[in-house]
């Protein structure tokens, strides 16, 4: 038992104290050795043309695609997983796997402890007030659907209104449309301008006595805009309207403090923050969650069941029917440990510098236009290049080992707004570097040569 615990500690904290004290992201220049290579935490070296020393933490990035070292710029779709997360999940299945909240046996207790420790870790990471406000879901999408079903069932009726914005991902549009269809409520959409910034005056006018909920994204996945959510929340609260923030695109890139934001719901996905797929979180204020009916029924969420009547368990279990994704939860906690060791402020600063560098370099290419030029932006660049279709750009970049996203980014209304069917999108993460951006620029020059 002792041995197991020690191993676990090792798996959880593979980074030496020395590395923690260093500033591997911001001060990467200083960490270059004489050969121009970077030492990673696992002792492997990364070639000098791939810059960020954090790259070595990610096994999937240690490969070549089409004979070129992989440059992964599709982080807004999903991020890669550090070795610490992969090893943590493996350790869970090798040493801890059992069902949670059930058995009296040791393994069940161990799994339950890890599952609930993870909940506490997530609470602390977003500064929620209580672990009962942290509900595990399959992802941000399911978290929004949970609120649409449960909150909707309780509070939304014919003639009511739900406010969303013009830059929502489909996952923050469709659940509300389904709810409106079911109840006869109406969907209202906060407009945006050409830079990709929301019209706050129009928003304020939209808030009426029959507005039941405001649901907006923190960061636009298609444009990168960081929305002024604190102001959006404050305006809504003045009229007593609760607010849901879709944090899927913000939580990997900046510190999140739900109590400072004062949002009522905050949702996010594990896989976009270097954690596993199939796990996500709904943070909800306890007072609201207490009043909301269960979303799904099943085991683990009940107090007592007879054929006549079932009474439901307390928060957060009321919303977690069935055996949860335990490995996903412990993997997500490992991702949070990883992010915390680096520091979210430092990640934000690194990505901001990448965004500035990439914007400048890309705009030097004649015929390249960027969609989404908000003053406050995350490291997402949507662009078109001459009249080359994004799919053709994507194929040629892939031949150069560079992975970008092309298409409508599950935000068709945003594409319609700009009257384009699709864009190319490069989105950056903590392991990306300026050298990789230089390779993107070179590859785009090649793309143009093909289409001259």
């Amino acid at each position: 038992m002792r041995q197991v615990k020690d191993d676990l500690e090792l798996v959880k904290s593979p980074v030496s104290l020395e590395l923690l004290k260093a500033d591997p992201i911001v001060q990467q220049e200083e960490k270059k050795d004489a050969m121009g290579t970077y030492e990673t935490e696992h002792g492997t070296t990364v070639p000098p043309h791939i810059g960020s020393p954090r790259r070595g933490d990610f096994p999937v990035l240690q490969q070549s695609i089409n004979d070129k070292p992989l440059v992964y710029f599709d982080n807004a779709a999903t991020t890669q997983k550090p070795r610490a997360v992969i090893q943590r999940i493996q350790f869970y299945y090798e040493q801890e796997n059992a069902n949670v909240h059930r058995g009296v046996h040791t393994l069940s207790q161990r799994a339950t402890d890890e599952y609930e420790n993870a909940r506490e870790k997530i609470r602390a990471f977003i500064n929620a007030g209580d672990t009962k406000e942290i509900i595990f879901t399959r992802g941000a999408t399911e978290a929004i659907n949970l609120v649409a079903h449960s909150f909707g069932k309780r509070y939304v009726k014919k003639g009511d209104e739900i406010v969303i914005s013009a830059m929502e991902h489909h996952s923050n549009i469709v659940p509300w449309q389904l709810l409106c269809e079911e109840t006869g409520a109406k969907l209202r959409v906060i407009p945006m301008n050409r830079s990709g910034e929301l019209g706050l005056k129009a928003y304020t006018r939209m808030l009426k006595p029959n507005t039941r909920l405001v649901a907006v994204t923190h960061v636009s996945n298609a444009l990168g805009t960081i929305n002024p959510v604190a102001e959006i929340i404050e305006q809504a609260h003045r009229k007593g309207i609760p607010v849901l923030i879709d944090g899927a695109q913000s939580i990997p890139h900046m510190p999140i403090n739900v109590r400072e934001l004062a949002c009522d719901f905050f949702v996010f996905s594990g896989h976009k923050m270097y954690g596993p797929t199939g796990i996500g979180v709904l943070y909800g204020r306890a007072e609201l969650l207490e009043e909301m009916p269960p979303y799904q029924g099943g085991g683990d969420m009940i107090r007592s069941v007879t054929f006549e009547k079932t009474s439901f368990g307390p928060l957060p279990y009321k919303f977690e029917a069935g055996t949860p994704n335990i490995a996903g939860v412990v993997g997500l906690a490992a991702a949070i440990d990883y992010l915390s060791r680096i520091g979210m402020e430092r990640i934000a600063a690194h990505e901001k510098s990448l965004l500035e560098y990439a914007s400048e370099k890309l705009l030097q290419l004649e015929g390249l236009s960027i969609f989404g030029t908000a003053k406050n932006k995350a490291a997402v660049i949507s662009f078109l290049f001459d009249d080359i279709h994004p799919h053709d750009i994507g194929t040629i970049l892939d031949q150069e080992g560079i992975a970008i996203r092309t298409g409508h980014h599950c935000a068709q209304p945003v594409m319609d707004f700009y009257c384009v069917p699709a864009t190319a999108r490069a989105s950056f993460g903590l392991y990306n570097s300026r050298e990789e951006i230089d390779r993107l620029v070179q590859a785009l020059k090649k793309t143009r040569e093909v289409f001259v």
Partner: protein
């Protein structure tokens, strides 16, 4: 540029992408269908004028990538003047060329310049780009009301 990429974006393809033939609605279509790829947003309408079992005129409009547009241009060029039976055979040939281990010369009947699209085969994610307008043409001839998709 890799040889696969050269095969994909060869001269004929780039030319038909830049100067698509038969682009635009034709005056009196007897058949028409819309094709849409929801994954990438490519959208085309194919118009055909069929008289006495022969395609006397054909055109298309819409927007998409170089592969889908050149495929539409090459397809319409090839089909103009074909009988419906020949069109069916060309459709099957095109499909087999991209999905089977077969050389174009082994295929029966007309292929015209659409052989240029053979390079798409090396890019599995792009095959749907090439086949979209073909499915659209087929559903126009079959008189299917619903929009064609590549799914």
């Amino acid at each position: 540029m890799t040889s696969d990429l050269k095969q994909l974006y060869q001269e004929v393809i780039l030319d038909h992408n830049k100067n698509p033939r038969n682009f635009g609605k034709i005056p009196s279509p007897t058949h028409k269908a819309e094709g849409y790829n929801p994954l990438c947003g490519d959208r085309y309408t194919v118009y055909l004028q069929v008289e006495d079992g022969k395609i006397v005129n054909v055109g298309f409009d819409g927007a998409g990538c170089a592969i889908s547009k050149s495929s539409a241009s090459l397809m319409t060029s090839c089909l103009k003047g074909s009988t419906l039976a020949e069109a069916e055979q060309t459709f099957n040939n095109f499909h087999r060329m991209l999905t089977e281990e077969i050389q174009p010369e082994e295929l029966p009947g007309k292929l015209c310049k659409i052989v240029a699209l053979q390079g798409v085969k090396a890019f599995p994610t792009r095959i749907k780009c090439a086949t979209l307008v073909w499915h659209t043409m087929k559903s126009a001839l079959d008189g299917k009301a619903a929009a064609a998709t590549t799914e």
